[in-house]
Symmetry: none
Subunit: 149 residues, 2 copies
């Protein structure tokens, strides 16, 4: 049994018992499983992607930690369907279509769409393509999964 699988299993069980949210200290977990800390990053990067329905955020520095949340079963399926059909580049136009869908499905409000349209416009992101559309894709997925988890 691979250590990565063991850690993945452990985290997912922990999440089951915990309403879909866990908060861990990377170094503690590494100690617990006798592996290097960056192994935890590997597990998170490969097993807890947005596309799988997980939102991750973390803080560095003293008192820092990593939090992982799972999408809520209710209402999550439409969003996850979109997230999984998004690909890893999303143009501004495409984003509009996605947001239109979510708006008419009643999942996002008009204000919420506005925030994303403003924040993830070409002007806001600033960089050139293809980088820009890649950043937008990641940002949009993260935003949506974060919202419903």
């Amino acid at each position: 049994m691979k250590i990565s699988d063991v850690i993945e299993q452990f985290l997912k069980e922990m999440m089951e018992e915990n309403d879909g949210v866990i908060e861990i200290r990377r170094n503690d977990l590494a100690t617990q499983f006798h592996c290097v800390p960056s192994q935890i990053n590997y597990v998170i990067a490969t097993r807890f992607k947005n596309e799988h329905g997980y939102a991750v955020d973390s803080r560095r520095g003293g008192g820092g930690s990593v939090r992982i949340r799972r999408v809520q079963p209710s209402g999550g399926n439409i969003v996850m369907h979109l997230v999984n059909h998004m690909g890893d580049r999303v143009s501004y136009q495409e984003m509009h279509f996605f947001l239109q869908d979510l708006l008419s499905a009643g999942i996002l409000s008009e204000r919420e769409c506005k925030l994303l349209i403003g924040g993830l416009s070409d002007r806001a992101l600033g960089m050139e393509n293809p980088h820009r559309d890649a950043v937008r894709a990641r940002a949009l997925k993260n935003a949506l999964v974060h919202l419903i988890s």
Copy 2:
């Protein structure tokens, strides 16, 4: 829970109950929370910045103290006030502080904050600093301005 966060919380609650003005003795506060006095300076420097709507002034010497007060942005437009004072680089942590401001001012909902926190996290943006904080600053400003226009 970090001691800095505890102190921040304490001061903000105190300010709530006190009409937006508090006056503290740095050394007493440090004693009360079992930390060094300069920790108080750290909390004030990171959590009570001007751009978050606080004004700090202090007197040294015998009988000295620190006064912190909430400043209402004149003209009433809190969003524009924040956007104008944001600077052209915003860290993830700073964004949290800004969003907290907007949340407690009743300008953004919790969902709207979640969208931005997820969409503009380090993970979502992907690139390295200093570029990352610059993109986040632009994106956040654009999102907020777009929202109110």
